[in-house]
């Protein structure tokens, strides 16, 4: 009975996860894949997921952006001097977040500019037109910060003018927070994801060592290389749009969801549907 209630709560809490909807049945099926002795532990792990729903994502982005805009206005920068920058390929999380924010905060009507960090040519042109202002990168979640820093450093070769730089993201790992800070980019975020919040991370004390070892072993059984997620970050933030690739493998499941079904499969983990 306790297990059913737990799955019911999970299905309610994560109901708007986009890649695959979660129901009471699928939540039960997910827990049922583990050995009986591990189920309480797995449920405890699920309780530690920091889920950011679509409405919460929108709210964080809008609130953080409003705070940033106020500061920039006080510093004498009108809206038309703000360039919002997406930092990844079209279709990935950054442009989706930028679109969400653009519509929710009416950025276009306010006269803000938009650019793509990968399109250095147009970024250079826009910066040249604006002359002095702020570059605001937008993304959903920053894990190690490697990818973000690479994209930004490439774009920086074509920078022109005097610009302050900011990052807007609903959640940022503490590792990336400091790394981005070293580049002089100030992060505006709703949540800095600390290592202590990640039950399977070496620096966390949520689980005992024995519990950590046991679940790490189960994760490795699902994905021998990235059992604890990319770079062993073992992050616990899941966004409504997609889980980051840094979450433990038991949350994502196997590639094509076979043999192990995940509770938060990434789009790229799901089998491709045949058309026709």
């Amino acid at each position: 009975m306790r297990g059913i209630i737990h799955s019911f709560k999970a299905a309610l809490r994560f109901h708007d996860y986009k890649p695959r909807r979660l129901s009471l049945l699928s939540a039960r099926r997910w827990v049922g894949q583990f050995e009986k002795k591990d189920r309480r532990l797995v449920e405890h792990l699920l309780d530690n997921v920091i889920y950011i729903s679509e409405s919460k994502t929108r709210q964080i982005l809008v609130d953080q952006n409003a705070a940033l805009m106020r500061r920039l206005l006080d510093a004498g920068l009108p809206m038309k001097k703000l360039i919002y920058v997406q930092v990844d390929d079209p279709g990935s999380s950054s442009p989706v977040m930028l679109n969400l924010l653009r519509d929710a905060a009416s950025l276009e009507r306010l006269g803000c500019k938009f650019a793509d960090a990968r399109d250095s040519f147009h970024l250079n042109k826009t910066m040249n037109e604006v002359g002095e202002g702020a570059l605001i990168y937008v993304d959903d979640f920053i894990g190690t910060g490697n990818q973000f820093c690479e994209e930004r450093n490439f774009a920086a070769k074509s920078f022109v003018g005097t610009f302050s730089e900011f990052l807007l993201a609903p959640s940022i790992c503490e590792e990336a927070f400091y790394r981005i800070g070293e580049l002089g980019i100030e992060a505006f975020t709703g949540h800095v994801h600390s290592k202590a919040e990640r039950p399977l991370h070496a620096n966390s004390s949520i689980f005992t060592k024995a519990e950590k070892d046991r679940l790490s072993l189960v994760c490795k059984g699902v994905n021998s290389k990235f059992g604890l997620g990319y770079r062993n970050l073992a992050t616990m933030v899941v966004l409504y749009r997609n889980a980051p690739n840094t979450v433990p493998a038991i949350l994502r499941g196997s590639l094509n969801q076979t043999p192990f079904q995940g509770i938060f499969p990434r789009h790229s983990d799901l089998p491709i549907r045949k058309i026709g």
């Binding site: 004498g76 040519f121 702020a134 074509s158 022109v160 005097t162 302050s164 730089e165 580049l183 002089g184």
Partner: protein
């Protein structure tokens, strides 16, 4: 401050005077496009030792971009990096106080002043890609209304050939320039591609009616397609086309053949540069002859044991002749830079 012509506004000062502050490294933002490889590690090590012993004696120059909490560096990146390393190694200032940098805080530079400052930095940088340089130079030319190479060289510190190369890049439409700023190195077209392709495109448009009809942009597209299809294995190979044309100057039947081959090269995607033009360039023999000529020239001059002459007119004539030799050798040496090996970076 230099002005270039009477109608033009004065170039703003890059580093105006400011007020002095002592900043901890966390309050400072490194330059956004000033990569680590800019600095010689040995020189940096000496500076670091000096700073460890005496602290930072010469203030760095910083400004605060509007809305930014940190101060951006205008001058003093090396001192800043030494202090960062010392802090990471656990070193502190006197009496256990945190290490600080004296900093002259100035107003943010104007766009053009910032650009000129970046140019002054990049004169020391080995591998700054040419396309961003060209785009920055374009802004300088537009803002200051200056086109003259000598004046631009004085302003930016770029050499005359560098400016010429940038101007060649800027002759291409923006959609082609963008291809050299592709973040993916696998699909990026190197800036040198445009520089080497330009004379070939000019020649083809001028000498071949079908290519003229095709138009400059479509002709350029054809070359880009060929490069992506690895039918132009190295951008240096464009020189074979020009050489084939130049060498056939006194041989009309061969000249006709070369022009036909160039036309085929543009229109047939399968034709590869070397296989198409090698027959017109008897390269090995010419290089050997040039080597022998160099050796002969040197040994003959040395044999004269010339150190002085009392005749001023003769002296001036000889100096003029030597200058001409030097200029020609310099241009030839520059033309021969790069590698024929497609694996060697050409940019």
């Amino acid at each position: 401050m230099p002005t270039l012509n009477p109608n033009q506004p004065a170039i703003p000062q890059v580093i105006p005077t400011g007020h002095l502050r002592h900043l901890v490294p966390e309050e400072i933002k490194p330059s956004s496009n000033n990569p680590r490889h800019l600095f010689d590690p040995d020189v940096l090590l000496d500076l670091k030792k000096n700073i460890a012993e005496h602290g930072v004696l010469v203030p760095i120059t910083v400004y605060q971009a509007p809305g930014q909490a940190k101060f951006s560096i205008l001058d003093g990146e090396r001192r800043y990096r030494c202090v960062i390393e010392l802090v990471r190694e656990g070193r502190g200032g006197k009496g256990g106080a945190p290490l600080t940098l004296p900093a002259n805080v100035v107003e943010p530079p104007t766009k053009i002043a910032g650009l000129l400052y970046m140019f002054s930095i990049h004169n020391f940088r080995e591998a700054w890609e040419l396309m961003p340089t060209a785009l920055s130079l374009k802004i300088v030319m537009e803002e200051l209304g200056e086109q003259d190479n000598k004046a631009l060289s004085k302003l930016t510190g770029l050499s005359d050939p560098q400016i010429e190369r940038c101007k060649k890049l800027l002759k291409f439409p923006e959609r082609f320039q963008e291809l050299s700023l592709d973040p993916n190195p696998q699909t990026r077209i190197p800036s040198n591609f445009w520089i080497e392709a330009l004379p070939v495109i000019d020649l083809a448009l001028d000498a071949i009616p079908t290519i003229e009809k095709l138009g400059r942009d479509r002709a350029t597209d054809k070359l880009v397609e060929k490069y992506r299809d690895r039918k132009i294995k190295s951008v240096i190979h464009f020189r074979r086309i020009m050489e084939s044309y130049d060498l056939s100057e006194d041989d009309p039947p061969t000249r006709v053949k070369v022009i036909r081959r160039i036309e085929e090269f543009f229109l047939n995607p399968k034709v590869e540069t070397r296989s198409a033009f090698d027959e017109f360039v008897v390269e090995k023999k010419r290089v050997q002859s040039a080597l022998t000529a160099c050796e002969g020239f040197l040994s003959q001059l040395q044999r004269f044991k010339l150190k002085y002459t009392t005749d001023d007119e003769e002296r001036n004539s000889l100096r003029k002749a030597l200058r001409e030799v030097r200029e020609y050798c310099k241009s030839l040496e520059q033309a021969l830079t790069g590698s024929d090996d497609p694996e060697v970076p050409q940019d």
